[in-house]
């Protein structure tokens, strides 16, 4: 499978590192992705991580908006001003920086959440709660009501 799927919670060690799940690393390797582009999610208290192509996709979306709209402005602020590039170490571990911690509330553990073309970093409990809430919404919205 060549997209990010499922979720896993890993520990952050004394140096602030956390292992990226092997299945996620496999996806990155298959697309030859070395550098990771990170930014905060628009909706959730999470940090999204993907290849440089992810950044390009967002730029295209901004281009489609009215350049003077508050939405385009806000999006650019988050995407360009708020984004960072990161790299994994030799064992496939990610440094959990203050940038990540501040937007997520992550302290000692990270939940990696697959989102098809990218993945996200969540504070474990926040993910649990949001997953349950989103599931309840979908039930009302009719996805599971066939």
């Amino acid at each position: 499978m060549n997209r990010f799927l499922s979720n896993a919670t890993n520990k952050i060690d004394a140096k602030g590192r956390a292992s990226v799940p092997a299945s996620f690393r496999a996806v990155l390797a298959s697309s030859k992705t070395e550098e990771l582009y990170c930014f905060q999610d628009f909706v959730f208290p999470a940090v999204s991580v993907g290849g440089p192509d992810l950044l390009e996709r967002f730029e295209q979306q901004i281009a489609r908006l009215d350049p003077f709209s508050p939405e385009a402005n806000r999006m650019s602020l988050v995407i360009h001003g708020g984004g960072v590039f990161m790299k994994l170490d030799q064992e496939g571990r990610l440094m959990v920086t203050d940038f990540i911690r501040n937007h997520t509330g992550i302290t000692s553990e990270v939940t990696f959440v697959g989102r098809a073309d990218h993945f996200q970093l969540w504070q474990p409990q926040a993910y649990e709660d949001m997953q349950a809430a989103a599931r309840a919404e979908l039930r009302l919205g009719g996805l599971g009501s066939r």
Copy 2:
């Protein structure tokens, strides 16, 4: 027969493995399905299991939405973040992970339930109860009363 039908209850061994019923494996083999997509059922305390085509069906629903909308974001969180890929071992056994246990209450035995294009994992007693309840509903609803 090329769809999942009937049900069977199998033991979970000390390593957390359970044999998938041979008839189900035959269905998987006939469609060349190697990887299994699993997710928490939207209404029942069960985990649904099917081929990647099951995931694609959900993704088509997401594709109909504005990719930057909260709805699409939420649906992806559930479908991508909440789903898992699994593989059977060489003997056709499935690892009963905590993901499965948490959503079903499964402990030492698992009931496999055929649902035509996919199958489900249930805690045996929960399945019995739900089966009986569904049967009663049908009786009231008049399906058998024509």
